[in-house]
Amino acid sequence: MQDIEIADIRNLTQVIKERYNYDFTNYAMSSFKRRVQRVIDLYKFASVGHLVSRIKEDPAFFHDFISEITVNVTEMFRDPSFWRVVRDHIIPNIMLNHDTISIWHAGCSSGEEVFSMSIMLKEMGVLNKAKIIATDIDKEILDKAKKGLYAVKHMDLNEKNYIRYQGTGSLKDYYEEREGKVYMDRSLVANVSWREHNLVNGPVFNKFDLVLCRNVMIYFNQTLQNEVLKRLHESMFKYGYLAIGSKESLIWCEIANKFIVVNNEEKIYKKIKE
């Protein structure tokens, strides 16, 4: 199997940009290349050129391409210690000054992070005070998130995370198992609005007290991380909080000085300057 050349990738992203206005030019090369290879293997294309032609001709296929190219792997209560900090420090701090709280899950994938948030807020007794918006570039995964329907095989890990998070109940309180599938309690997300949104070129559509953008910017190169961070910054109230993945960092970004670190271990930042 011939390795994909960078020139092939450049050509592919150029075509996508011109034809569909999605911009993948500044995605991290190593993982993007693997994702493209994966699509080529999956659909048995003879070369990147064949993939490009198909994308040009077939908009329906392009949407399948988007959902294959994005990495949707996620968990409920991923990094349980992160969720404890949000519960014990971040939410109480926000609630000191407001009686409502607005939250944005940027890159929510299949919704596990959103359900985790809702469960946490419910157990804190403040779910009805929260306004939550969950967005992703991948329409198909958003449809899955809205349904709150998961494979039983993933629940083992989710349960373990919940236990390590030290929730007040049992994760089983929040779902039903039927015919080998897990149906989440939909009332948890009754106040969540799910939207298709591209962090790369989508509009700044609101301001939030808390933005979670975890394990999303790792798929971008540093140039794009800088740009997207500016958008996230614009989407936050002053003194609002931003959470990124536990192995990401803002310190290299141009506007790092507009944030302070609230918790370095869990990568939670606070906006201190407009």
Binding site: A28, R35, V73, Q222, K247
Partner: protein, 197 residues
């Protein structure tokens, strides 16, 4: 004496290890010179949901503290890096790390193949790949890529391994330049380091 015919154009050492490699790794990290000249980039199979403790355990005897890089962190000479739990770790052109949560590869995240393959792509013939004890086939394909791009390949001698499946799989798939026990690997790295002094 230059038993291994080494030179000073190598840019990095990548090490893969799995079951039965912990002791070997700690011996290597304590046996090489304090001011080792190249970055050492390690991908070891580890518990997926235990974030802390592993780097600390490896650091106790190591010449340098072992660190888990953040996404897009630059790779520095003489540092010892470990792929973080539950993330694949790639090397990016421009000499930085990239992390990802893609599906498991060879039942593993981090997968050794991913680290080795991306390192081979970036460093080409300036790379040394070392594969240690382990119970699956992860790393074999990565070693093949290193060889294809002109890098140097070393496996822990199967006879010296607690579990030899991993190095044996690599030997089956590609040409291996040196098959050494842990002491031999340490001697190799010491000699490599001398080329830079």
């Amino acid at each position: 004496m230059n038993r291994f015919k080494l030179h000073n154009r190598y840019k990095a050492v990548v090490i893969g290890g799995s079951a039965g490699s912990f002791q070997g790794i700690t011996r290597i990290l304590s046996g090489i010179p304090q001011d080792f000249s190249l970055p050492i980039i390690m991908c070891l199979h580890r518990l997926k949901h235990v974030r802390n403790g592993f780097t600390e355990a490896l650091s106790i005897k190591s010449i340098k503290p072992v660190t888990e890089p953040c996404d897009k962190e630059n790779i520095k000479k003489g540092q010892v890096y470990l792929a973080p739990a539950n993330y694949h770790m790639s090397i990016e052109l421009g000499n930085s790390f990239s992390l990802s949560t893609e599906e498991m590869v060879n039942n593993s995240r981090p997968a050794i193949d991913i680290t080795l393959e991306t390192a081979a792509y970036v460093y080409k013939d300036r790379l040394i790949g070392i594969l240690l004890s382990g119970a699956n086939r992860d790393g074999a394909l990565g070693m093949k890529k290193i060889k294809e791009r002109g890098g140097l390949t070393i496996v822990q001698d199967p006879a010296d391994c607690m579990i030899d499946t991993m190095p044996a799989a690599a030997m089956q798939l590609t040409e291996i330049d040196h098959c050494l026990n842990i002491d031999g690997i340490i001697r190799f790295l010491i000699e490599l380091d001398k080329q830079y002094k």
